[in-house]
Symmetry: C2
Subunit: 428 residues, 2 copies
């Protein structure tokens, strides 16, 4: 196996240019590590002339990524265009149909079409790898699929959208409103063209659905995920949670329970002193828990040219070295459809309410909670210049349906003004 491995790169944005740079810079290093040269033979992108800080002149050009994927002198399609359908999917399918391996950073495509693509790749005897699709430079797919293969995985958690974590961090440390922090992130170019992919939790949800598939041997089930973005997090909640010793994170959690597969990507409170609580800015973190390994925490840059290209190159090197693995860690045909959990697992909750300033108001709230089997761990009332009294409640462990029933009943007490905020406190 000393023939070069020949790459066709489709998509020359930030990550694609980063891959070209690494291949150009580290030719001899890659050859030593892979046992064969790593070469780029052809590329495809929207513009041939754009300045990318790296020359693509040595490579054949294709206007059409599908034509690139079919070239005889390409062994691996490196798909870095993005988008769940369209050119990315067409090129990926063409590569597989023509017996070529695929390395992609495309979480949306895999979250929606992972099962079909994995079956096609395995039928064709080619690799479909996607380390760069999840948590940027952190080799988390490899850790989960290979390093921890001896474990029954019990839970996977992660902060996997750097833009959301940047916004929450800036609200916390600079006292910005959500709108101000969002505008700042936008100005820095951190947001996707459709910002809802970031702040709505969709991008991070895509990533979590891929981790869940590997962890639990189940088919990717993005549509079953409980998704909630960070748009309703206020600076008030960040401050109050901080007073109680917590940070608010857009946290993904996947776990297999007696009630089915639980997948959530929602704002949660985590202890300020925990590794997740201490995560600042654009950094990502994934926590993997297994029956043998206990808990592993992986932390690193979640985006950017170098880190994402590093993940792409890891997959390319694996393929060059002859490593062949099922796409989701076991044959796609053996992945089970997982019944979605009918309710999230019990937890403590953070509640923020505004009460009318009348004697007995708090008692009415406590009664509603008690009637729904919710006991109170801590309660704190804040000074209030206005008519309404802000009250914080941390509950003991509670089933979510009980909480929802109580929340629905609170307006009927006549003492709660505005909509209560309820956030899960995750055990981390």
């Amino acid at each position: 196996m000393t023939d070069p491995i020949r790459l066709g790169i489709a998509g020359l944005g930030t990550v694609g240019a980063g891959v070209v740079k690494i291949v150009q810079r580290h030719g001899s290093l890659l050859e030593r590590r892979c046992g064969r040269p790593v070469e780029i033979t052809a590329v495809s992108a929207r513009s041939r002339e754009k300045d990318r800080g790296v020359s693509i002149k040595p490579y054949a050009w294709e206007d059409d990524p599908v034509a690139l994927a079919r070239r005889d002198d390409v062994d691996v399609l490196v798909e870095l265009m993005g988008g769940e359908d369209g050119p990315a999917k067409n090129a990926t399918e063409a590569a597989i149909a023509n017996g070529k391996h695929v390395v992609t950073a495309n979480k949306a495509m895999l979250a929606h079409h992972g099962q079909a693509l994995a079956e096609a790749a395995e039928d064709a005897g080619v690799n479909l790898r996607f380390e760069a699709a999840v948590a940027g430079g952190i080799p988390v797919i490899k850790a989960l699929t290979e390093g921890l293969a001896g474990n029954a995985i019990t839970r996977v958690m992660g902060v996997m959208n750097g833009t959301c974590n940047y916004i929450l961090t800036r609200m916390d440390d600079a006292g910005l409103t959500y709108e101000e922090a969002f505008a700042e992130a936008d100005g820095l170019g951190y947001l996707e063209a459709d910002p809802e992919l970031d702040v709505g939790g969709i991008d991070a949800g895509h990533k979590l659905s891929l981790l869940a598939s590997i962890a639990f041997g189940t088919r990717v089930a993005f549509d079953d995920m409980t998704l909630e973005g960070i748009g309703r997090i206020s600076i008030d909640d960040i401050r109050r949670a901080g007073d109680l010793g917590y940070k608010i994170k857009l946290l993904g959690v996947a776990q297999m329970t007696g009630r089915g597969l639980e997948q959530r990507m929602t704002p949660c409170l985590v202890p300020s002193a925990s590794p997740l609580g201490q995560l600042l800015g654009g950094t990502n973190m994934v926590v993997i828990e297994g029956d043998a390994v206990e808990q592993i925490v992986l932390r690193g840059p979640g985006a950017g040219e170098g880190p994402t290209a590093s993940a792409v190159m890891g997959d390319i090197c694996d393929i060059a070295r002859g490593i062949r693995l099922p796409v989701f860690g076991q044959p796609a045909q053996t992945l089970r459809p997982a019944p979605p959990a009918n309710a999230e697992s019990p937890a403590c909750f953070y509640l923020r309410l505004a009460l009318v300033d009348k004697p007995g108001a708090l008692a009415k709230v406590a009664t509603v909670l008690g009637e729904n089997g919710i006991s109170i761990d801590r309660m704190r009332q804040y000074d209030h210049p206005g008519a309404d009294a802000p009250v914080l409640i941390v509950t003991h462990r509670t089933a979510r349906p009980n909480l929802d029933t109580a929340l629905a009943a609170l307006p009927g007490t006549g003492v709660v003004t505005g909509a209560p905020v309820a956030l899960r406190i995750e055990d981390v």
Copy 2:
């Protein structure tokens, strides 16, 4: 490749028993993930009758691990006996000579004989894997060798001896002396039979030497490492460092510099707020820096039955899946002998001195430092009930030889009593 992969396990201590339990517990999971059954055919240990919490009756017994390694019905020798020479090395060599793969947790053997064993394994076309030898359950060998293969690695750092970190943590949080914390760790069974392997930094140094080889494409060079244990760390230094915003850790650092390969396993100060500074108790952490990925931090349990067995199983699953890799990430014949750096890279240093309580004493110390090109960033003098005044100094970035010259000159001032303490402050 649907024939079972057949394991011969040599050594049934904590980790060996853990591997047996995983194979027994996860038969169908392992088969699904590996594409073939994982079976134990034979075992070898000091005592056949010892209660290990798991039955070894189904397996053939060998008194001699070398005989185990040679058995026709063994595909993989799982070497969990330990010891740099003797039975572990003999059995490993016998397995390789008989065309069997080897999975080992034996850092001492690889630190001393890694090059010869790697060459033998690669000549024989078998795998020699050692994920469990470094940082327990953390899949760090895999991350470095495979996941980050597209990077020129610039630095690897780690806290990789849980016992030392436990002792330092207890001195810090419970105010124990070194001797008290050592005795506590001993009572909990945390110490090796020869405690110097732990507290002298040797065990952690073995691990660092293996990471350095993979990271920099160099032959394992444990003998060139700067090694210093935690025995001279006092509760005073832990308190004073804490006042200045630092924690003291037994920190391994490997980096390739213009002056050669720098490998240090020494007590260092790291910022209290950094991931390394926040690491408590027996947990391990490895930080990997590469030219593309920037910085990855991996954290997890550094020892124990489950975590270490998890790492062993990861290697076994790789071999069962047909993954074949050079032992240190590139062919052993291509590993370069690395010239050891003639001095460690410049850093800021923490100095603790006791001065006689006389006017001008501090000026004399400052003069000696200044004469050696060492400028002072911060200085703090503490209240002192006795005759000597404790003084803390944090230097600006300084070349180590200058510091050593200054330290040697301090007694000549006549104002310094006792031996000064100097600890490196690592940039993390």
